[in-house]
């Protein structure tokens, strides 16, 4: 099932998680006193900023600062800030689940569990010690611009993309910047071997950075086919009337978990907990689902109508433990093959 391997350890290990909490008037009051909260995320701004505004509307007097960049750059930024004793991050949410293993080991994450998480989030979607939880799941899908590619010419899977007819027509994100692509690169390399990327690199691929950019390049008509990219953005474009068709590769679609955690050094600890708790609540999760159609972690919240159910898609298995070990190697190999 989805994000089955989010966890490095079996849930049978004795849990060190703190007791589950709810949003109490005292928490809201304390958060309001702090007045602000910073949310580090890799999620596209078209979803993250409206979500922040919804939180601000729900809890007036608390301003959310969204710090968005690719998950790999976010990881770097947090490492540099922490090393320089700069305390700014309150809540962190990233598309590279491996980062949470590192941060937990470093002791940077504050264990915090809400009743919503304890009751409505599947155990394999959360850390037994309560330091992080999957906020939502998305996929790194393939897609094409249907005004540039005819249905019968459309690729059905990764290997189809090696056809010479796609040379110069592909756009792709970069694992050195994007957590989605890092996770996806690991899964594709495991399934198809690095030789696949070596062949793909000969197809004159346009290399962009974040997984949020291929959907935009497709919409602009700059390239006809996206090798990868955040599925929810392809869908959101399509729902806006952009001629985009989403493809779930026959070899399997890379699965991306998006964990979230409260930072131990959070300068606004109460507002951090409040934002975290609200995002995991039915209301927060519904907001995310309604706006973007990503797959919710809260089991009480239904997936967006009109999107294929996650269970109907053949997904690849994510493995943050392996990604954590191999991240540097993946970046180095990728940079050597694609020259950037």
């Amino acid at each position: 099932m989805a994000a089955a391997a989010l966890l490095p350890f079996s849930t049978k290990v004795l849990s060190a998680a703190p007791p589950a909490e709810t949003i109490t008037p005292a928490l809201i009051e304390a958060a309001r006193k702090e007045g602000k909260v910073s949310y580090y995320t890799a999620m596209d701004l078209s979803v993250a900023e409206p979500m922040a505004k919804a939180f601000e509307a729900k809890f007036p007097g608390i301003k959310v600062a969204v710090e968005r960049t690719g998950a790999e750059r976010l990881f770097n930024r947090l490492a540099q800030e922490t090393a320089s004793n700069i305390k700014r991050c309150d809540v962190v949410n990233s598309s590279d689940a491996a980062h949470f293993i590192t941060w937990k080991r470093e002791g940077w994450l504050q264990p915090y569990v809400t009743v919503d998480i304890a009751e409505n989030v599947a155990p394999e979607m959360r850390d037994p010690d309560g330091t992080f939880v999957n906020q939502r799941t998305h996929l790194s899908a393939m897609a094409y611009n249907s005004s540039l590619v005819k249905l019968e010419d459309a690729p059905k899977g990764f290997n189809d993309l090696l056809d010479p007819k796609y040379a110069g027509k592909l756009v792709k994100g970069h694992p050195g910047y994007s957590g989605t692509i890092m996770t996806a690169t690991h899964q594709i390399a495991r399934a198809l071997g690095w030789g696949y990327f070596e062949k793909l690199a000969k197809q004159k691929v346009m290399q962009v950075q974040s997984a949020t950019e291929p959907p935009k390049k497709l919409e602009a008509g700059e390239r006809a086919v996206a090798v990868d990219g955040s599925d929810y953005l392809f869908w959101m474009g399509r729902e806006r009337g952009v001629p985009i068709e989403v493809v779930y590769p026959i070899e399997g679609t890379p699965l991306i978990a998006n964990p979230m955690a409260v930072f131990k050094a959070a300068p606004n600890p109460s507002a951090a907990r409040l934002l975290f708790a609200w995002i995991m609540s039915g209301e927060g999760q519904e907001f995310l689902v309604n706006l973007s159609g990503q797959y919710p972690a809260n089991l009480k919240v239904k997936a967006k109508a009109g999107r294929p159910p996650l269970s109907s898609i053949k997904t690849m298995r994510d493995d943050p433990v392996e990604v954590e070990k191999m991240a540097d190697e993946i970046k180095a190999k990728y940079a050597r093959i694609f020259k950037v």
Binding site: S38, Y40, L45, S46, E49, P50, A52, K53, K63, V64, A65, V66, E67, R68, T69, G70, E72, R73, F75, N76, R77, A79, Q80, E81, A83, S84, N85, I86, R88, C89, L148, G168, K169, H174, G176, Y177, V205, M206, Q207, V208, Q209, S210, T212, E213, K216, K217, E219, A220, G221, E222, R223, A224, A327, D328, K331, A335, R336, F338, K339, V340
Partner: protein
């Protein structure tokens, strides 16, 4: 920074109180110490890091990697190709254009001159993004236009901006104005009598041009070529926008990529040194080239140069000049406006599709916009003010030889010219992420970077202004019993006012568009506008980028216009003319 400024103020105040006491030495020491903190310390760490491995043991391994690993050698070669090509293109375009504007009766020549200068307000990375909108192979507006005109199939393109030639073109667009200004100014100053004499002796127009004008202008052109070479060598923004999608690195983007996790500061430091050394070498070359120019202006006053009559070529010449201007100015700004008010940058906005979506998103939703605007303004204002004060102080000390050892100051104030922005960024990062001065993560480190980068230009501008004010005026003041500070305030300052304002503007504009040092030194709390635009580029939010870029350029233009009203550039020019005569 402020402490040094205070010390300086205190020094002057004491001098005022106890006239006769010599406070020259403390001032010299304070200013020197400040410059050491700003320049020597970061460069020292840079060299130290480049010679050590992760554990801090001494090694030459970084340089071995640098010159053997293809992932460094390729960018190095690419960078050299870019720099040479840009330099050549800039000369080929700027020399004729400068001549047309300065020495012919071409229509619109004043407007052309102003517009070329105005195109310098555009940050090069914004220009690169705008050219992406114009000449991306498939979605680029110019390619679409060409396809609709010629019926070229949809998978072929006239222009491909994501290529080495595309990058060279875009860098040249925003570099040739520097060469143009040098050439046009040199041609302005060139004595008309020499050309007159040549024509009187029976030489044809083209012979005069070949024998007199070109040889006289050649040293300037050479200097211009070096300036263009240096610009292209050390530029970060445009390559970061265009080279990565094209699948190659330049040296500056490669250095930046070394700050990806896990950061490799030792390699970044080592990779910075070739840029530093090459820049120093070329600046020596430029000094030699410009030094030779001396003979052209020796011998006092000359008449206004005579304008060459273009005759039938007047209109074609003007059309050519406007075509050149379309590249850095008309086309990119059209694309930015289109993108700002359109949902998709690749579609031409019409009355039906015009939308304020991007404006709303940028100013109402994007939570980084306001903090970035605030930071940028604060930094630009502070850097401009402190930078101008510091440059003024150094220029005064050096021009009036106020203290022994003033030459050291002049050297330190011009030294940053040899430090590329990204190299300074790396150096400051290494120097100030550790005690005793942990400035990383504060606005101070950006302030130091910006002042350091702009100090040479500010110093040169003010020092030439000082040279234009006759010391006799000050000496008269001193002889009548006024203190040095009094003389400075009552006599020198009013004469320098317009030069100081011009310097202030110059630094302000330069800080607003700075990216290469900021991209290494910013943290999420200290994000500036240029870095925010760069972050938005990563996720491909071009609509918001267009809105922010236009805002940035609008602000810059307004500040420059207002400052000019208060007696900036033009008046400064007049002052020079007056006092030098």
């Amino acid at each position: 920074m402020s402490s040094a400024a205070e010390e300086k103020a205190v020094g002057f105040a004491r001098r005022e109180a106890g006239r006769g006491l010599d406070f020259s030495r403390p001032i010299l020491i304070a200013v020197t110490a400040l410059l050491v903190v700003m320049i020597v310390l970061p460069m020292g760490w840079l060299i130290a890091y480049s010679l050590s491995d992760k554990q801090g043991t001494a090694t030459l391994g970084n340089f071995v990697t640098l010159f053997t690993d293809p992932s460094f050698v390729d960018p190095l070669i690419t960078t050299l190709i870019i720099a040479v090509s840009v330099s050549a293109i800039c000369c080929i375009v700027a020399a004729p254009l400068g001549w047309l504007v300065a020495r012919t009766d071409m229509p619109l020549r004043r407007i052309v001159r102003t517009l070329v200068m105005a195109s310098l307000v555009t940050p090069p990375f914004v220009g690169a993004i705008a050219w992406e909108m114009l000449a991306a192979p498939n979605s680029g507006l110019l390619n679409q236009l060409w396809r609709s005109l010629t019926g070229m199939p949809s998978d072929e393109a006239l222009l491909d901006i994501y290529s080495l030639t595309g990058l060279i073109f875009v860098i040249a667009c925003y570099t040739f104005p520097y060469v143009f200004i040098l050439v046009a100014n040199a041609l302005d100053r060139m004595p008309g009598e020499l050309e007159d004499a040549s024509s009187m002796l029976g030489a044809k127009t083209w012979q005069t041009a070949r024998r007199i004008t070109v040889p006289l202008a050649l040293p300037t052109l050479l200097a211009g070529a070096l300036v263009a070479f240096l610009q292209a060598l050390n530029l970060f923004g445009s390559p970061a926008i265009l080279a990565i999608p094209a699948g190659f690195h330049t040296l500056t983007t490669r250095i930046w990529s070394l700050f990806q996790f896990p950061p490799k500061p030792e390699l970044a430091a080592a990779a910075s040194l070739p840029l530093l050394l090459l820049t120093i070498l070329l600046l020596r070359g430029q000094a030699l080239a410009l030094g030779r120019r001396g003979y052209a202006v020796l011998g006092g006053k000359y008449g206004e140069p005579r304008l060459v009559r273009l005759g039938a070529w007047r209109l074609p010449a003007a059309a050519l000049a406007l075509l050149v201007l379309a590249m850095p100015l008309f086309l990119p700004y059209a694309a930015l406006f289109n993108s700002a008010f359109s949902r998709v940058a690749s579609r031409l906005v019409t009355l039906d599709t015009i939308t304020l979506h991007n404006v709303r998103f940028t100013f109402l939703e994007l939570s980084s916009t306001m903090p970035a605007l605030k930071n940028t303004f604060l930094l630009a204002t502070l850097s401009a003010t402190l930078g101008a004060v510091l440059a003024l102080l150094i220029a005064y000390i050096v021009a009036r030889r106020a203290v022994p050892g003033h030459r050291v100051l002049a050297f330190l104030a011009t030294a940053p010219l040899a430090i590329p922005g990204i190299v300074l960024g790396v150096g400051l990062f290494l120097a100030y992420t550790r005690p005793p001065l942990t400035l990383y993560g504060t606005l101070w480190i950006l302030l130091i970077a910006f002042i350091t980068i702009e100090l040479p230009a500010a110093y040169q501008q003010l020092s030439s202004a000082f040279h234009a004010v006759h010391p006799e005026l000050e000496e008269a003041g001193r002889m009548l019993g006024a203190s040095r500070l009094r003389t400075l305030a009552d006599i020198t300052a009013p004469l320098l006012r317009s030069a100081v304002i011009a310097t202030w503007c110059f630094v302000f504009v330069a800080v607003i568009r700075e990216l290469s040092a900021a991209v290494i030194l910013f943290t999420s709390e200290t994000k500036v506008l240029s870095v925010l635009i760069f972050d938005l580029k990563e996720s491909g939010d071009v609509g918001a980028i267009a809105v922010l870029s236009l805002t940035m350029v609008a602000i810059t233009t307004i500040v420059v216009a207002v400052a000019n009203r208060f007696g900036g550039g033009r008046e400064a020019g007049r002052l020079h003319a007056r006092t030098a005569g």
